[in-house]
Symmetry: C2
Amino acid sequence: MEPKLVVVGSVAYDHVETPWETIAEVLGGSATHFSLASELLVHTGVVAVVGDDFKKSDWQRMEHRGIDLTGLKRTEGLTFRWGGRYDEHLKERTTLFTHLNVFAQFSPEIPAEYRDAPYIFLANIDPDLQHLVLDQVNNPKWVGLDSMNFWITGKKESLVRLLARVHTFFLNDSEAFELTGFRDAFRAAAAIRAMGPKVVVLKKGEHGSVLFVGDEVFSVPALVLPEVKDPTGAGDTYAGGMAGTLARLDDLSPEAMHFAAVVGTCLSSMCVEQFGPDGPCSSDLEALNRRLELFDRQVRHSGRRIS
Amino acid sequence: MEPKLVVVGSVAYDHVETPWETIAEVLGGSATHFSLASELLVHTGVVAVVGDDFKKSDWQRMEHRGIDLTGLKRTEGLTFRWGGRYDEHLKERTTLFTHLNVFAQFSPEIPAEYRDAPYIFLANIDPDLQHLVLDQVNNPKWVGLDSMNFWITGKKESLVRLLARVHTFFLNDSEAFELTGFRDAFRAAAAIRAMGPKVVVLKKGEHGSVLFVGDEVFSVPALVLPEVKDPTGAGDTYAGGMAGTLARLDDLSPEAMHFAAVVGTCLSSMCVEQFGPDGPCSSDLEALNRRLELFDRQVRHSGRRIS
């Protein structure tokens, strides 16, 4: 079966330090977190590269989940490694190391069977490569984009050209400021939408996210959880849950966008409860619906008025 | 008519600097912001002190709103003055000066006609004085409390004794950490509830608030606004809206708490759009209901599940 959703990004081994625990060589990367979440909702293909040290068990883990790995290339060398340390609030993150390894030579090649996928997500890589992806696919219905300050600063021209080619742009407030010069969400989102994207998703970490869709603003708080272990991958899991829902429903209406963001929020709440991708990885639709019920309990209010 | 809700706190003149504008001698203070919001919902009495420089027009402004000012004492000297400066994000606030003036000698005297008020709010003052207030009232149905790090550090014993006498405690995350030693909201709220309060309201500024009520957690995001001018008073306005709603409905159920927090959120969104208390001050129930409608549009989701 051809994937309905394709993600292009990284598959990596992460080293994560929190004040309470250190985990080394845990399966990570944007495409990993994204696809483990989205595959729960819709058949997903991954375009990425790993080294010959990539463990068979990790490959199988993604395969057993159902993810299409035709686009996951294995080449000579070491898999991408990233290390980060969180502060005591699990808010500030310091990058300890970034060893691109085989990822340094990555040039995405979209397999023939992925080219008609109607939903495409460009996880955070060089915007020049993100252009290359779009050059290889046939008129997708929806393109989602993630980036980072590094590219906004270093390859702004390429990124701005890219924005004209995408439907939904995911970014945080410091990236929004870097890109637009506006500190407030409303103005920044308007400036970004003027560059092309119909939808802007402002990610606020533990505080949730805000969607700017046409004239509508949707505020989606994060779930309040008894325990958070590791925020790594939460943003990619959120995007995977959102894109997976849009593709599953095949609906880009504002209401579908809002619901998809709620699903992304629920899946990312499972992600942060565990180190690595175990949370969403081990979940099923029943567990997701239980989490949607928890979201309802925490967020849904009565719609009551003062009389 | 005797007030159903009584607030004890400060009435002040504020000096507010934002990166774009400076406003001096604007009507402020916790009891002011609180009562201008709550009076919209329920008849409110104020216990506070002002100096003989307090402008007649400001007294009338509160009176015309309908607030009972029997408990507002005018004495010789200057009214409390506070000055603060906001950073470019309107997030960090530096206190420029605090001139207590007549407030230095403030010892709250509850007028006879306030003593049976079923709803009492203790705005941020010395916890010893907050005890004095509760000593003078007759078994209120609900007591809400606000405090600050200054008292948590300096008068912890008095504050902890006070917690056993209140129903709802409003605080932010740094205060929760200072008080409990826990950085995560869940544990901090549990520790605080073990000290007495049935309900903990964790205030998160521009990110909204989280309520811990029995086994329930309610997450109430702030409204996303096109323009924020001055966050001063937002917390007191929120508390005024919440307490006013509880008193109006005379309902302390979890559902009423949740709705009351939404009303508080809506009123505080009007507060931050203007300097001083003009926003809630000039609003009526119709404007509040329009704001509740906006909250619905931004926050209410479908309750849908994945099928």
